[in-house]
Symmetry: C2
Subunit: 216 residues, 2 copies
């Protein structure tokens, strides 16, 4: 993978990394920091379609299709590894293994989106919030940026609300409920998980361990 590395990039919180409708000559993997993927309607309504954690790809869509279908903005300071779009195409010719891994990542992204769609389409507010916290904590554990009982939450409650298709107010009230239930508490950029078991239960998760990811 080193062969294809074009450089590194550091960006601040709130920096747009890629924009919906544009085609960047670069794509990125996240070395450090977090971001949100989202789409915006003309009237300002926003849907967060995913959370970007270390190890994730940014800009694959633009590299493969003509242009990005969503925007990505940093929610904390980030450290990115930069690749050239053209090199991706070259890689498909030279490194079938890596190419397969890229497709794996795309399939995984599809999987996340499907899950999110079920959450937004068919779960109640309490289930949604529980599901989101469970997933975020689980993924953060995977990449080693969380402990069993707590993690940093660089997102705002508005980000979460927009991810879940709920209003900010209702999301906040639902978080209070989870706090009252002694399941999880999110205060001042810090999420504390008191009972991950129960959280999964409320979210309606039956579960299995997450798949092994390829290293990129």
């Amino acid at each position: 993978m080193e062969t294809f590395k074009a450089g590194e990039l550091r960006v601040d919180r709130d920096t747009p990394i890629v924009l919906e409708g544009t085609s960047s000559p670069h794509l990125y993997t996240v070395l450090e920091g977090t971001a949100i993927r989202f789409k915006t309607l003309e009237d300002g309504r926003r849907q967060v379609i995913g959370f970007v954690l270390p190890g994730d790809f940014i800009g694959l869509q633009a590299a493969v299709m003509a242009e990005m279908q969503h925007s990505v903005t940093a929610v904390s300071a980030m450290h990115l590894c930069v690749f050239n779009r053209a090199d991706l195409y070259r890689m498909f010719g030279e490194q079938p293994e890596r190419s397969f891994d890229v497709t794996w990542l795309a399939a995984r992204e599809e999987h996340f989106l499907g899950d999110q769609l079920v959450t937004v389409g068919r779960r109640s507010a309490l289930e949604r919030v529980a599901h989101a916290l469970h997933m975020l904590h689980g993924r953060a554990l995977d990449v080693g940026i969380a402990t069993k009982t707590s993690m940093d939450m660089p997102f705002t409650q508005e980000d979460l609300a927009d991810a879940l298709g709920l209003s900010l107010v209702h999301t906040n009230k639902t978080l209070s409920r989870l706090r009252a239930l002694q399941v999880a508490s999110w205060k001042t950029k810090k999420l504390e998980i008191f009972d991950r078991e129960r959280l999964a239960d409320i979210a309606g998760i039956e579960n299995a361990p997450p798949p092994i990811r390829p290293l990129i």
Copy 2:
């Protein structure tokens, strides 16, 4: 692509093609007919995460990841082209072009899901139904199974409701509204589009023609 073709398959309406949580040794492209992709919660709630039309891939997730994350069931008689999972891996080594196209398809699927997520998360019932009809008609036009003013709708209203995160009853009432507005009418498996322009307008769609698809 002929090299990798393992056979053909004909299935009836209501036949499950792949199941969530399983890994099939095959993957398919649709030559004819339609299907739905969906996920089910233990308590029976169902979320339709996509509609499968001719030219679409089925089973890519299972081929790339360990197992399928959603089920696919035929909603009309279908004619499928069958490939072996193992051959996909071989293809990545032998045909970089085709491999890139497969990744393109995965990225497109991701795009559809993102759109759907916006619809379910942030649009009103009327907007959702309008958006879904617009998209289905648009895609059907693309693959040549619709005219400018009408198309076959093998789905039930329950399928649509489950795709939009609405109840069946409310979906039905919203369809009545669109009929009253003289925009579109869906009666007995037939969708009629009276005013595609207006439909797009109600759905809140601004924009551009769909991307060119690679032939597989």
